[in-house]
């Protein structure tokens, strides 16, 4: 059982840290960009997919 607990703990902790880092970076960058350019869908000069 201990191997399973260790494996799950490592995976969930890694995913949680990555998620926190990504959302923090997103918030920091969003503050540096005008509101009209923050989302791809809202960008006035966006390039099509």
């Amino acid at each position: 059982m201990s191997y399973a607990v260790v494996g799950w703990s490592i995976a969930l902790a890694t995913l949680a840290i990555y998620a926190i880092v990504i959302v923090s970076r997103e918030r920091r960058l969003a503050a540096a960009v005008p509101a009209t350019r923050r989302r791809w869908l809202d960008a006035p000069d966006r390039t099509d997919a």
């Binding site: 059982m1 997103e26 969003a30 503050a31 005008p34 509101a35 923050r38 966006r46």
Partner: protein
């Protein structure tokens, strides 16, 4: 619709940006995030309480309810990167370039977790963390290819050139994925043969174990989508921030030139 506190008419932040950051969640990302958290809680209950120990592996099987969904999400990430790379080479699409890069980073994370959880499972079942088995070695190669892709993304060359070069690496992900999946069929392997995705699509497990495994794949699929969505926004915002900085610098130079012209 964003839920931040920014004045949309001026594009300037209000009191909500006082700490240099703001809320960026959308309804879609919030739904995906909550679904991921609830799904993970249910999956933990299923993996550790609902399902019985396996006849030969014992409790080590509980690690497979994590390992298999994680590797499935890694495959999905590699496939999205492959598709994005094709569109980058074919249409020179900036959007697909950002999607491919975002997906590759999340796929690299999931591949690393695949290797880590596989090694822990191997230690409890085989007695060793690592053997140079076809499945393990090809998965390590896939991880190295993803790291190479990310290293290329981090290089400071012209963005178009960087997009094309990394797209060529992204295209190589598909044959590598096929190699990983088929490795247990093509070579004699210590790793077990496919349990779910067999030729006749007839799984070798059933009952609560099968339900938990399939549910885990769904949960990690949702989590993957949530992570890629936010990683895409980071990539998009970084490009926009660089462009805004460039425009500001140009405006300052023009203002300086105008001032010098007025003086002289």
């Amino acid at each position: 619709m964003t839920t931040d506190t920014t004045d949309r008419t001026t594009g300037q932040g209000s009191a909500g940006e006082a700490d240099g950051a703001l809320r960026v969640a959308t309804t879609g990302s919030r739904v995906l995030g909550i679904a991921s958290l609830v799904g993970l809680a249910i999956l933990l209950y299923c993996a550790f309480v609902w399902t019985p120990p396996e006849a030969t592996q014992g409790d080590a099987v509980r690690l497979l309810y994590l390992h298999v969904p994680v590797v499935t999400a890694a495959y999905v990430g590699c496939f999205v990167t492959f598709v994005g790379s094709i569109f980058v080479l074919w249409k020179r699409s900036v959007w697909w370039d950002l999607v491919a890069a975002s997906s590759a980073e999340v796929a690299a994370l999931f591949t690393a977790l695949t290797l880590a959880t596989g090694m822990i499972w191997g230690r409890s079942t085989w007695g060793v963390y690592w053997v140079w088995d076809a499945r393990l070695t090809s998965t390590a190669m896939l991880f190295l290819l993803l790291l190479g892709y990310l290293a290329m993304r981090a290089s400071s060359v012209d963005p178009d050139l960087r997009a094309r070069r990394s797209a060529w690496l992204g295209v190589l992900l598909l044959p590598n994925m096929v190699l990983v999946h088929q490795s247990v069929e093509w070579w004699r392997s210590l790793h077990q043969a496919p349990t779910l995705f067999r030729d006749n699509l007839n799984p070798t497990i059933d009952g609560s174990m099968l339900t938990t495994l399939v549910f885990g794949m769904f949960v990690f699929g949702v989590l993957f989508a949530w992570l890629v969505l936010h990683r895409f926004r980071v990539a998009w915002l970084r490009d926009q921030a660089a462009e805004v900085g460039l425009r500001q610098a140009l405006a300052e130079r023009r203002a300086e030139a105008r001032a010098v012209g007025v003086v002289s």
